[in-house]
Symmetry: C2
Subunit: 456 residues, 2 copies
């Protein structure tokens, strides 16, 4: 006989999108039962994964808490959904357990992309899976003894891993196809600042280099090195593939849900699927529209996933909040050593590529004042404005510990469609130990206006 | 014979408002001559003054740079303006030098308020003047040897001084008339957190206590202690008065300019004086209208002063930027030990006092994630929304080093009139080493909406 569980809301997947949707649903719809099903007993914080290997020092130090969800009244079931019957409104676990639902949220996440190159399945080739068991084995059994390692992919994850792994004493080769690191996210000077810092820390940075194959040792089993398409070769004992992830839409595909042309599950502004307003998709598995262009945006970010989970969670049984997903702005930040860096919205080059006519402004300031204050870092802020509307469309910040919150200020300004006029004389607070003397956004906006007026 | 200098723009005063106006004027109007006259050879960073006595360790460590102004093409003259002839468009220095101008900017600042209590002129009673010489003498000659000191006034400046002076080994009594510290700026729980931290650091905090008199030693010259109006008495060797400052409008008064009923120079939205559109006033000497009420706002902040300097500087010869002063939001932040705290806009109690019907939300989160990340502090964010428009009207943050930039994000949201709906699912960036897992603004907005909906 089949066991049948009943819930109101069934959430499939326990990453940031699923968990945030669950917390929000339980909080905003307290009379509804919310059940989250995920395969992992222990879930890790995805953006904390690189830090397991250095700063945090352990997989158990990177656990995503379930307490807020449970405290809100949600329940968690460990298992894998094998199939969903949309008409009958139930899902079936691999063990045969049936779950009846009236709202289904797909938060199935993404899986690492592995390029189809020779040797990708050799022993010693690692991927960045988000599973606790995989990561814990990597940390405690696979990596110890590895003295040299190549990372394929010089995006944020590759850059973060290279810094964390070099802290373990591993000689790290960071290999990026494009001419520079973080090329998709940053203008050239910021990429160069990050590359310079990594080199100073002992990381071997190889840009404009493509790995043609991963080579095996004589045993045909273990990694011996990587061959580059320019004929070069690097001897390494291990390879970490950090090229990106792809939406995991297997379940959605089996259910016959529409996928976007770029691969994610098609969703409307409330994260509802095309076929059925009682089925939602959030996070990496869901299609992302770009805030500026409406084209697909391929940045799969935990913060964006959580925002989508929140929108779906609030609107499961009616629009408690008439808030739709306005599209992905892509607000990133990271830190290598003491150097923090990030971007909100468009960079100068990406804006021009899209076709925006832009004007830009730069400011370089200390992040405390006067600059004699202990712990002072330089902040470099570059803002990008659309020349026709004068609206802020992006910003890049390189600085100290406050970098990410300065970017969040930019993110708010972009979302509220602030103009250069708005920002040029905005009121900001300042304090010697906590901020620059002039807010970098105000200073950079001033320079942008002066360049535009021809007085810079 | 009288020496006559000629300039286009004459700025009187070299604090944040004057200096920022000068930089902006020189940058936006490069064909105009900009001359700044100030009495001090060396100018200090005003908000850095408390830190001279502890963290910075020297007056020379708190100098306000003149380099950006000079680099922009401005000139500085050390001297005091004795009078201004508005009709003839010239000013006269105390040494008789005459300066012809066609735009005049008054940035004469403020002076410490000294309450008319017995003993206020005794030897050992100090004020917080912004002059280099006064501060340097205080640091190097007056304070050494002082073992016990009372600070009158438990606002931001009093709180900051008490932390810095206790670092020197001085036993500090902090005396505040109101029932709690920072009462004008903070809700009660935040005041209590600051008081508790100060007490833990050894500062003696006396709230609800008024100083009736400062008592003299037998010599009738030096301070012996302070007498409280509840009959108590504290033996101290010195007293620091930190009750606040008053606009310095002597020159404006002599010129016959209109003053506001609350004491500052009357200015319009472009910082122009009532009588003459070629005369501007900026910073502490200028009247401040509150962003929310249009009543006078008595917060005299360097950041606000600088914003006014920027508005005037851009618009001296026509509206290069059609930006007016929207009124004071009052964005403050400070830090005691590792505890940072601040406010942007209205607190819950000040909003209710004004007559707003409000709803509020609180969030407590780590400022890194997971919370096992080294250097993690708790952030407590409280947001205040107007119940009718749903607009954000204020926020209070207690946390770590990113506190002030979170407040600046709130300041932008307030100025752009963001609603709870806007903020509840806003996109923010997150990073384990740099931010909370969920942005405190999003979390607190969510809680506010749930309280409002009755599901919290």
């Amino acid at each position: 006989m089949t066991t049948t569980l009943e819930t109101d809301v069934l959430i499939v997947g326990g990453g940031p999108a699923g968990m945030m949707c669950g917390i929000t649903a339980a909080q905003f719809w307290p009379s509804r039962r919310v059940l989250l099903v995920r395969p992992e007993e222990q879930a890790v914080v995805p953006c904390g994964i690189p830090y397991i290997f250095g700063t945090l020092g352990g997989t158990d130090e990177d656990l995503a808490g379930r307490a807020p969800f449970l405290a809100a009244g949600g329940r968690i079931l460990i298992g894998r959904i094998a199939s969903v019957n949309r008409d009958a409104r139930h899902a079936t676990l691999e063990d045969g357990t049936r779950i009846a639902w009236n709202r289904l949220v797909l938060a199935t996440g993404s899986t690492p992309f592995v390029p189809p190159i020779d040797g990708h399945a050799l022993d010693g080739v690692f991927q960045i899976h988000k599973q606790y068991d995989y990561l814990d084995e990597l940390l405690s059994e696979r990596l110890p003894g590895v003295a040299t390692l190549a990372i394929l992919g010089g995006g944020f994850i590759g850059v973060e891993f290279s810094d964390e792994l070099r802290k373990r004493g591993i000689e790290v080769h960071l290999i990026e196809q494009r001419p520079r690191l973080l090329g998709a996210s940053f203008d050239a000077d910021a990429s160069e600042a990050v590359a310079a810092r990594l080199r100073a820390l002992g990381v071997k940075v190889h840009t404009g280099a493509t790995v043609a194959a991963i080579e095996a040792q004589a045993d045909g089993v273990r990694v011996a090195g990587v061959r580059l398409d320019n004929g070069g070769r690097l001897s390494v004992e291990a390879v970490l593939i950090a090229i990106g992830t792809r939406p995991d839409t297997r379940l959605a595909g089996d259910m016959g849900l529409t996928l976007s042309r770029s691969g994610g599950i098609w969703v409307d502004g409330f994260q509802q699927c095309r076929e059925d307003p009682q089925i939602f998709a959030v996070g990496d598995c869901a299609h992302k529209q770009d805030f500026f262009t409406r084209h697909a945006n391929h940045a799969l970010l935990a913060s964006q996933a959580a925002a989508e989970g929140r929108i779906a969670g609030m609107n499961l049984y009616g629009l408690k909040l008439p808030r739709t997903n306005a599209g992905t702005i892509a607000v990133y930040a990271s830190q290598i050593d003491e150097l923090a860096f990030g971007v909100a919205g468009l960079t100068e080059h990406s804006a021009r590529d899209i076709g925006f006519e832009v004007f830009t402004g730069d400011a370089r300031l200390p992040d405390h004042h006067p600059a004699t204050m202990p712990g002072t870092h330089e902040v470099h802020c570059r803002l990008v404005f659309d020349a026709n509307s004068e609206r802020l469309i992006g910003g890049q910040v390189i600085g100290g510990p406050t970098t990410a919150e300065i970017l969040n200020t930019l993110a708010v300004a972009i979302q509220l469609r602030a103009t250069a006029t708005d920002l040029a004389s905005f009121q900001f607070g300042s304090h010697p130990r906590l901020t620059a003397p002039v807010h970098p956004i105000v200073a950079a906006t001033g320079e942008a206006l002066r360049r535009r007026l021809g007085t810079a």
